[in-house]
Amino acid sequence: MTVATTAPPTPRTDPAAGTGRTGRARRLADRLRGGSDGGWFPYLLALPLALVLWGYVVQPMLATFVESAGGDGVDNYLAFLSGSGVARSSLLTSLGISAASVLCCGVVGVGMAFLLKRFAFPGRRLIEAIILVPAALPPLIGAISFQLLYSETGILPRGLQHLLGTDEPVLPFDGIAGVLVVHTFTMYPFFYLAASAALAGMDPSVEEAAYNLGASRVRVWRTVLLPMLTPALVSASLLVFMTSLASYTAPLLFGVDRTMTMQIYINRTNGDLPMASTYASVLGVVSVLFLLGMRWYEGRRSYRSQSKGISTHRREIRNPVGRWLALVGSVLATVVLLAPVATIALVAFSVDGSWTTQVLPTDYTTQNFVRIFADPRAFQPILNSLRMSLLATAACVVVGVLVAYAVRRLTFVGRGLLDVAVMLAWALPGTVVAINLIAAFSTGSPFSLGQVLVGTFWIMPLAYFVRFLPLVFRSSSAALAQLDPSLEEAARNLGASWLRAFVSITLRLMFPGVLAGALLAFVHGVGEFVASVLIYTASTAPISVEINNRMYSFEVGTAAAYGMLQVVLIFVVMVMSGRLERGGPTAREATRWTN
């Protein structure tokens, strides 16, 4: 009778011994073909990625710090602490604007989320469809459209002046107030999306339980709903704060010079690179601290409902007064949401220099567009933007996909650092990225093959790459998370080498996610302004820089025409990636079969 296995003891031999040279060579060949199973394989993949991230993200940041510390470095930093200098007031203004932006965006975003997710009223679907439009505008065009609409020379204040017959424009937004309006309109989606997601994920029975236990409506809000929304709101607050801190176009257009980003720009254009580097270092450190705070917080708490019950019902507004208010509100919201795009579209057809003190431009033409496409010099910025964005996107895809794969699927020492380096690129404001690259590549460096990159074409796509790598990384990483690792294992088991399994299975199935990320990176590249304006040269000016220059020379119509082209591109891509996310015919087929 057999009880418990006792296999005959076999002499243990070291696999390296005995078989000799041929054995060793065969094992090496085995490993090479084996790929991901060898202990060193993850490092083979991770090392070049780590070098790229080090060379173009981390090391430039250190170079900026070195630059700032040279010469009268200590004085530069002390300026932030001392009494009434520009440095100190810029830091305080930036922080103040950011805090105010958080407040404004929070009120608007959470309010919108509650209205749209908890109530049913006429016009709700339309608003839900267009609610993200202002945020989708490229940063410069977004800010310009608000300037055209709400500033002292804007359509609304002048329209009201005309209507009411006053001497001055009515309710113009200027300076910091103008910046806050732009921030609120472009950043409230952070709150809206976070609060909507939290509301959608919330178990309605929790709320019902509170009512059932005798709590009043107000009490339920105060003691149940708001606490459950807290994690989402804190994350959104941090995001809005970081984004406001990095905001550059709004202060530029509304003339708020004393912000960190503006000071970086001003010092750089005045040729004081050490001082610009000091501002960039301080802003970079603050941004990274916020990033770390956000990651720490998100790791710490999140309320997620346990039950799979039905989602909350929307409450129908039955009160007739309420219904009318809702309708008026809907119309107003629709107008406000679409106004920026409508303004750009309208102005794009206005004759340059014809729009002075009137409420709306008076003379219209299609010449602006014709000239852009007919004049090779006017078309050059478009070519520049497309070429640089394509280059950067290609690099983002290669590096982003591989970093996502390494971080999600492989185990190696330093995996967390790779993840952090990508997030660092995401946390750094565009102005800081530009200063970092200037500091790192104003002399030859091994990462630029010994070439000086400042003042050349190559620094532009490099900046785009650093700024938009996180977009591709995140969408690739999300696509990988949806993918069962055993699919790749099944391919390996059936005889596929690592590369073949990766390409024919993993990459193939990641493709929609990667493409969505790549499109996003491309669109952001075409709209890029913040970093470009610090590093462009006459021959490499991208669309946004050209828009800015045209605005300065009062060619508002042509500037808006360029902007309109950017906007059209963005909406085409948005529709395309919406298709991707919903999935092609196969995904629809699948849902039909499972239901």
Partner: protein
């Protein structure tokens, strides 16, 4: 056909405390249907993944026949694996899934089509080749996974809990089907499951694992009737394990005293290590305990604490001087009630000494 041998195989994961698989020796014969059985976390899946090549052992050797495959990458081992979630490629059709391994082996055209058709026929899915994976039911997906593993004519077939995602009725049908296909192909198969009924019904031999170690290897009958340890006794079916004083110990049996005072001579495995006045662990299955009156001198007197009527049997829980015994009685003379006194008859031939 080849056998699979594991020699002192251990696997430690970096950062984890103990070994996930600890010094496992197994010798799986050619053409055998061999099952790794155990609760979750016992190391059975890790063992299978080492055989497939997804993990390399920290120490020890794995052989396919005479060939040492210990450090061989998975794509060069020629095993066919059926994954727990099937791992079918969602972007390929049924035929393309089945043909994936053939394509890698550069088998194309008519020959590939013939083998794909043959494999699909084998799993009763002829005519499904052009379907998309998401158009198949769970049971059909499972069979595609099996066809995909078999079509490459692998040296061994590895199955990682392939039935756990099916509902109960389909599970029983499918296990018969897997066993039929395996017999027809005559392929050495290694099957991982936590379901002891599945293991008993399908396997030629079973290795029961616990805490990274193999506790017993044997045929289903051996494991059921002669469990090596108290864990195996309890994990395979249900079992009462009594701790009884030893009156006398011999090479292959011991005399023990029952709670009522009666004695039994109980068979024991070799090297049981028991001596007089030690305490032995003795297992007996619930269905082997007989019922009688409480005054029977040869019986264990006890009191019924629970009665459960299942149709085929009546399950009684009986308290015998502090120890609870489970009895599964097919014929119960009177209707027993909680609180009744009752006598239990433990036949010596059905008792067996187990290790702790």
């Amino acid at each position: 056909m080849i056998g699979v041998t594991l020699e002192s195989v251990s696997k430690r994961f970096p950062g984890a405390g103990g070994a996930a698989v600890d010094d496992v020796d197994l010798s799986i014969e050619a053409g055998e249907f061999f099952t790794l059985l155990g609760p979750s976390g016992c190391g059975k899946t890790t063992t299978l993944r080492m055989i497939a090549g997804f993990y390399f052992p920290s120490s020890g050797r794995i052989r396919f026949g005479d060939e040492d495959v210990t450090r061989k990458p998975p794509n060069r081992r020629d095993t066919g694996m059926v994954f727990q979630n099937y791992a079918l490629f969602p972007h390929l059709t049924v035929a393309q899934n089945v043909g994936y391994g053939l394509k890698i082996r550069k088998i194309r055209g008519a020959e590939a089509r013939r083998r794909i058709d043959e494999a699909l026929r084998q799993v009763h899915l002829d005519g499904y080749g052009d379907r998309r994976i998401d158009q198949l039911s769970g049971g059909q997906q499972q069979r595609v996974a099996l066809a995909r593993a078999l079509v490459i004519r692998p040296r061994t077939l590895l199955l990682d809990e392939p039935l756990s995602n099916l509902d109960a009725k389909l599970r029983e049908e499918t296990r018969t089907e897997i066993r039929r296909i395996q017999r027809e192909a005559g392929i050495t198969s290694i099957y991982v499951t936590h379901d002891q009924a599945e293991a008993m019904a399908m396997s030629d031999r079973i290795a029961v694992m616990e805490g990274g170690r193999v506790r017993q290897v044997g045929t289903p009958r051996e494991i059921y009737h002669r469990p090596a340890t108290a864990f195996v006794a309890r994990f395979i079916g249900r079992s009462n394990v009594l701790e009884l004083p030893v009156l006398a110990a011999r090479a292959d049996s011991v005399d023990v005293r029952l709670p009522g005072g009666a004695t039994r001579t109980v068979a024991a495995p070799a090297e049981h290590g028991l001596t007089e006045s030690a305490r032995a662990l003795v297992s007996i299955r619930p269905e082997h305990i007989g019922l009688c009156g409480p005054e029977d001198p040869d019986a264990l007197p006890g009191r019924i604490t629970d009665v459960e009527f299942t149709g085929m049997t009546t399950n009684l829980t009986v308290d015998v001087s502090g120890q609870e015994l489970t009895v599964a009685a097919v014929d119960v003379p009177d209707t027993p009630a909680v609180g009744d006194r009752i006598g239990l008859r433990l036949p010596a031939a059905r008792m067996w000494v187990v290790r702790p």
